[in-house]
């Protein structure tokens, strides 16, 4: 195969796998930020907290990190319920969620990071399952399982979530709550309860994303910081409340980053990827899959 073509193919495939990780990281935010209008900038920090919990439990019990991630998801759901309860009581209920709510989530970032340092120490943590050292080769295309398995899990979980949101009454209520909370009340549904549930799910997804992250790379308490810009860009590019749009944007983001890194060097990757975001917003301000107001 022509070397340039091989580079391009590998760039696209590795970008799709990277996009899978981004989709895992952004899935919860697509609910909290995209559907509930809650600017949870602590989402990546909570993802890293998930990674640390996965490492601790997985190491103690000798379990696969992705399996542990699924097992700890209910715990993170409860964490999400708690955070939302606090946020709603002190900010949202008073209509002060815009600026003070943002400051609150900044505070959550600091608490999570410092808490992780106190609980686990500042050192890198990792938990490598055996498949993390295996690479499948399809001709000249590499498929490292370290990237492939978390990406597959992310896409599966998001797919199931989309089905649930579309087919269940509660799922439809979550989609509706950000658009018209009063209409929900007329249907005898408590919008606060629905938002609490949805926020809990978003944090459960952050916990699961932590499991995916720790398969891909070691984590340290501040690892979430490198994801903040990316996950918000992906949710916005996807169309805010659209999970299929979020997945598409995540995959696009990964491909653009990696193809750029292949041919023009990694220092151009963020500029080109975020340039894509600007381009998309210029022509489709509502995002790829978003609906125009």
């Amino acid at each position: 195969m022509d070397p340039q073509l091989s580079l391009l193919l590998n760039g696209i495939v590795s970008g799709l796998l990277l996009g899978g990780l981004y989709a895992a990281a952004a899935a919860g935010l697509a609910i909290s930020f995209g559907m509930l209008d809650i600017v949870n900038i602590a989402h990546p920090a909570l993802m890293v907290m998930g990674a640390f919990v996965v490492v601790a439990i997985g190491t103690a019990l000798g379990l696969d990190p992705l399996l542990v991630a699924l097992l700890v998801a209910p715990l993170f759901y409860l964490v999400g319920i708690g955070i939302y309860g606090f946020y709603h009581h002190f900010f949202e209920r008073r209509g002060e969620e815009a600026l003070q709510g943002l400051a609150f989530f900044f505070g959550v970032i600091f608490i999570v990071e410092v808490g992780l340092v106190m609980a686990f120490g500042p050192e890198q943590r990792f938990l490598d399952p055996p498949y993390a050292f295996i690479t499948w080769r399809l001709g000249e295309v590499d498929l490292p399982l370290r990237m492939l398995v978390p990406a597959a899990l992310a896409v599966t979980v998001v797919g199931l979530l989309i089905l649930w949101l579309r087919r269940s009454f509660t799922g439809l209520a979550i989609a509706a709550v950000a658009q018209d909370a009063d209409a929900l009340r007329l249907m005898a549904v408590d919008p606060v309860k629905i938002k609490r549930l949805a926020f809990g799910i978003s944090i459960a997804l952050a916990g699961m994303a932590g499991g995916a992250l720790v398969v891909v790379q070691p984590v340290e308490p501040s690892s979430g910081q490198i994801f903040i810009g990316r996950v918000f860009a992906i949710v916005i590019m996807g169309g805010m409340a659209s999970l299929p749009g979020m997945v598409t944007a995540a995959l696009l983001f990964g491909v653009v980053e990696n193809v750029t890194a292949t041919f023009y060097g990694p220092s151009w990757s963020p500029a080109v990827a975020f340039g894509w975001l600007l381009l998309v917003l210029a022509f489709r301000p509502q995002g790829l899959f978003g609906r125009a107001a």
């Binding site: 580079l7 590998n10 990071e113 590499d142 070691p218 810009g229 990964g254 963020p270």
Partner: protein, 418 residues
């Protein structure tokens, strides 16, 4: 019934804000107070916290010997949160409010540089820890650096790596360079670029990457496509892990691969990477080889390792920890010779004298760097797993450069099994 006045409250806040080590509180009155900021949280916390443990061990050692000038030593330190913006205020507080007697630096260039204006304004003598070329711009005559890099990073940093490369049976002709976008890595890359050209090496790949890079697969593939004889990386953790994992997944091999990767010196990385490190030739500062058995180093490491687990820091202490201990030894020896706390006299003493430390005998140059650079280039040899015990003994990380510390011979290529 007693009441708390505003003044009492202020004292309480000050007491709560400063971490004063309990050992020091138990000492007699009028201690010598050494103040500094250190990254105890944030991205540099791993090295910051292990440096702090080294400082505490030094403090306990020196107090057990009766202190300095007959006075116990007290450490006053604040968490800079790995935020350079906090550093000037912390040093202002240390000097103007806490009125410490001596100041030393936080860990690493990015945190040391913002402290310099405050230090210079107060004319304090300052011993820094792992700053790279900080004083090139400031040219402060009371600055002294505990770092092996020396005065001229561009002219010397890459020399050892290239010297090793030119011992290959077939002299290398091409080099690839990849460096993270930060000051030290860029200086390291510039050094290899500069010295490589002097030796006739053709640069076939020369790029930087942002510290936010997650996936290194495309970059490694692009480097592999250029088939370089010498592969040089200047990276920081966790990027070093990402690079090495991508190299392993793509089965990339090269006669010499490594360079200035920060990460493989750290126990967590050694544990995770295991055999992927085999035959990596990398910059380092210390290896427990027979050629580096400096007086006191083993006693220090024994104490450090006994407490590392409880303190949740690097369990080996083979990287900057001995240098943090040595940083305080410089202060101790200068104070001992000068006999009083006199910033000008301390600086004059540091400029004039040799210091006997756990990392060897050192002298400072006019710029305050080590008068003789000592960039080690080590090779990981015979690495079959991530067990850390081997890194406590000679043989796992043999020294290839400099010649006076050399403890083994080059094995090649990178990618060959142990």
């Amino acid at each position: 019934m007693s009441t708390i006045t505003r003044r009492d409250l202020g004292r309480l806040v000050l007491a709560g804000g400063a971490f004063v080590s309990p050992a020091a509180l138990g000492q007699g009155a009028n201690p010598i107070r050494i103040g500094y900021a250190m990254s105890l949280s944030g991205g540099l916390a791993a090295n910051g916290r292990s440096s702090l443990l080294a400082h505490k061990i030094w403090q306990e050692d020196v107090n057990a010997r009766g202190g300095i000038l007959g006075r116990p030593v007290e450490l006053v330190f604040y968490d800079d949160q790995t935020n350079p913006g906090t550093v000037p205020a912390l040093y202002t507080k240390l000097i103007d409010v806490d009125r410490v007697d001596i100041v030393v630096s936080p860990y690493a260039t990015v945190m040391i540089a913002p402290s310099m204006p405050v230090i210079m304004q107060r004319r304090m003598t300052y011993v820094s820890l792992f700053g790279a070329g900080v004083n090139e711009a400031f040219k402060y005559d009371r600055y002294f650096s505990m770092n092996v890099a020396g005065d001229d990073i561009k002219g010397t940093y890459g020399r050892g790596f290239l010297d090793v490369a030119f011992t290959l049976p077939t002299p290398p002709r091409t080099v690839s360079i990849l460096a993270v976008d930060n000051e030290f890595a860029q200086k390291a890359a510039e050094s290899v670029r500069h010295l490589g050209r002097q030796r006739g090496l053709r640069v076939v790949y020369d790029r930087s990457y942002p510290p936010t890079t997650v996936d290194f697969a495309p970059t490694i593939r692009a480097i592999a496509a250029t088939r370089p004889d010498v592969v040089f990386f200047a990276s920081y953790p966790p990027d070093s892990n990402g690079l090495l994992r991508a190299i392993s997944e793509q089965r990339m091999t090269a006669p010499i691969l490594g360079g200035g990767m920060i990460g493989p010196q750290i126990a967590a990385v050694q544990q995770q990477m295991g055999p992927i490190l085999n035959n990596l030739v990398n910059w380092d500062v210390y290896s427990p080889e027979p050629t580096m058995r400096f007086p006191g180093i083993e006693a220090f490491q024994e104490k450090y390792r006994a407490r590392a687990h409880a303190e949740q820091v690097d369990p080996l202490g083979n990287y900057l920890q001995p240098f943090a201990y040595a940083q305080m030894q410089v202060v101790e020896q200068a104070l001992g010779r000068v006999g009083r706390i006199d910033q000008a006299a301390l600086a004059a003493d540091m400029r004039a004298n040799e210091f006997k430390t756990v990392v060897g005998d050192i002298r400072f140059s006019a710029l305050g760097e080590w008068a003789e650079e000592r960039n080690l280039f080590v090779q990981f040899q015979g690495i079959r797993d991530g067990d850390l015990e081997k890194y406590k003994r000679p043989g796992a990380k043999v020294i290839l450069h400099p010649a006076n510390l050399k403890s083994g011979t080059l094995r090649t290529p990178y990618g060959a099994p142990a």
